[in-house]
Subunit: 119 residues, 2 copies
DNA sequence: GATATGGGTTTCCCTTAGTATAGTGGGTTC
DNA sequence: GAACCCACTATACTAAGGGAAACCCATATC
């Protein structure tokens, strides 16, 4: 009885983190969004520079993902009145709160590569 | 010149974390793998319990993802000689190294939900 | 001997995420 | 005035990921 109750509590905990994870993934799912955010952690970038930095990313996907990231408040889009008009994308303060996610993923990936390629 | 050199260095850094992130995502991409790992953080589970705990997950996907997670050394599969035969899935030591990823995602997701639903 | 449970596999289907390619519109440079 | 850069948008296609349902095998319970 006591045991059962504890198990139920654990399952509730577990369900909660499952929902939380889904909430996070909803914003960054897809092949490119995390990478866009990662690049923007290094500073503001314009459209073409973003595309150049992320290998394989086409303009249609970049355009779509930037729109979605903006809608979700993670980045801002600024049109600059420069000679040829340029557009700058930049992480919002909220966007920067994703840094730990990027960091921990990158750390794990680095360790994993060491493990695979025989440290 | 100095400035340019620094920029190049930054771009190399950036490329590195992009590759690292890709390495990590290769193992946990898809709709269900992170959730399977998350549930297993709470302890070993059998097939049916995993399926019950993760809403919407069908047996085909679960079966496929478990195989892939095992191949990548994140979980172990143990057949138990019980009355009706049961199979137990459990995180390996390596699998547990994913905990920080799950944790940081869950934390962010929780905060995000607070923000969206008007703290 | 019918039904249930655990642990899957197989087949078929379908949507959607993503790719490739081309084009637009404004401005600048050669 | 040709060609090139930036920032996209449009169109068209495709492949892979995933869902639903049926089926399989063993045990064992009614």
């Amino acid at each position: 009885m006591e045991q059962t109750r504890l198990l139920n509590d654990i399952e509730k905990d577990c369900s909660k983190i499952l929902f939380a994870i889904q909430d996070a993934l909803d914003l960054i799912s897809g092949k490119w969004k995390i990478k866009v955010i990662s690049v923007l952690l290094y500073g503001k970038k314009n459209f073409t520079d973003l595309q150049r930095q992320i290998d394989g990313l086409g303009s249609k996907m970049l355009s779509k993902d930037l729109q979605e990231l903006e809608i979700n408040g993670l980045i801002t889009r600024t049109v600059n009145a420069t000679k040829p008009i340029t557009v700058t994308y930049e992480l919002t303060e909220y966007g920067y709160t994703m840094e730990p996610i990027i960091q921990v993923l990158a750390d794990w990936g680095t360790e994993h590569r060491h493990k695979i390629t025989g440290r």
